[in-house]
């Protein structure tokens, strides 16, 4: 599968490692070259530096034949903009975005963007642990 990861932060880097190890083709996009360098020499995929929703940058990252775009930066507006471009302009089959501010969930819902809400997930897990230990 060809997967584009937007954002080379902690989550983006971990994802790229996991997905590359699982045998997928991965390219990573970030506007900050330092964050891209942090991918390390072990990363053998494509890394593209540039404004994440820019047409030329997305094309360089191979969006035309991408199966997935995963927008996981720490900026909700950036994730939404990239997701809309990927979905509505490039017709990428599957687009998933990361929610940072839990109250922004409604914006992703309104615009029909599939999302993962880490804060919500982690609090469920922690709550589960707390309640589990009570039994």
């Amino acid at each position: 599968m060809y997967i584009i990861i937007i954002g080379s932060g902690r989550l983006g880097r971990m994802l790229s490692e996991e997905l590359t190890d699982a045998g997928h083709n991965v390219s990573v996009v970030d506007r900050d070259s330092k964050r891209l360098e942090a991918l390390g020499t072990g990363f053998n995929g494509l890394s593209v530096k540039g404004i994440e929703y820019d047409n030329a940058v997305l094309k360089e990252a191979g969006i035309k034949h991408a199966d997935y775009v995963l927008s996981v930066t720490s900026d909700d507006n950036l994730n939404i903009t990239v997701s809309l471009a990927a979905k509505e302009i490039f017709k990428v089959p599957r687009v998933i975005a990361r929610v940072n501010e839990p109250q922004k969930k409604s914006v992703y819902e309104l615009l029909g963007i599939e999302m993962i809400n880490p804060t919500e997930l982690i609090s469920y897990i922690i709550k589960g642990k707390v309640e589990g230990s009570q039994r």
Partner: protein, 227 residues
Amino acid sequence: MKSIIIGGGKVGSNLLKTLKERGYNVTLVEMDEETCRRIAEDISAVVICGDGTDIDVLKDAGINEADIIAAVTGKDEENLVICQIAKKGFNIGKSIARINNPKNISLFKALGVDQTVCSTEVIADLIEYEFDRDICKIVQTFDRGAMILVEVAVNENNRWLDMFIKDIVLPSECVVASILRDGKVIFPRGDTQICRNDSMHIITNRSTFPEIKKLLHDGGAYAKKKK
């Protein structure tokens, strides 16, 4: 008419002032507390401190009753998200987005933002206009530059002087619509000759305009050669 401005920078605060002076019902949304305080001291308007891409904040600002929303923050992705919320969530008749980087214009257009203003492009155009003022200028822009009306002044530096319309080599996407001579309108045909002090009107589009300018100017080489 109820309008909401998002972004309280130089563009937003000046826009607020102008609209207030014209008697509009305006609310401004700005994220930075200090900036909000400064604007509220200066202008008597409703200023809301909050994130303009948060639906609850927009509701507080009265988005349900708003007719116009202007997203003028310094970040293009923020302005795009605001316009998308206004359009898809609240069916706002008119949303206007400021674009900071001209490269993003096509993205905004493709995602259906009704109106965009690119400050960088406007300023570059104005400066360019000052350069070209003596010979040709854009009089009117239609549909964001898909069609423009250009006025060409015919003076001694104009290489079309004394030529017939049929002899002018023009790019394909442009047409000479009219010539203004001594206050009279001439509808040009092939045998119309271009005279000194004529004012020609040409209809073209933004992408062809530079070609026409190049034809007229040649970096000033033509005028120099003649001398």
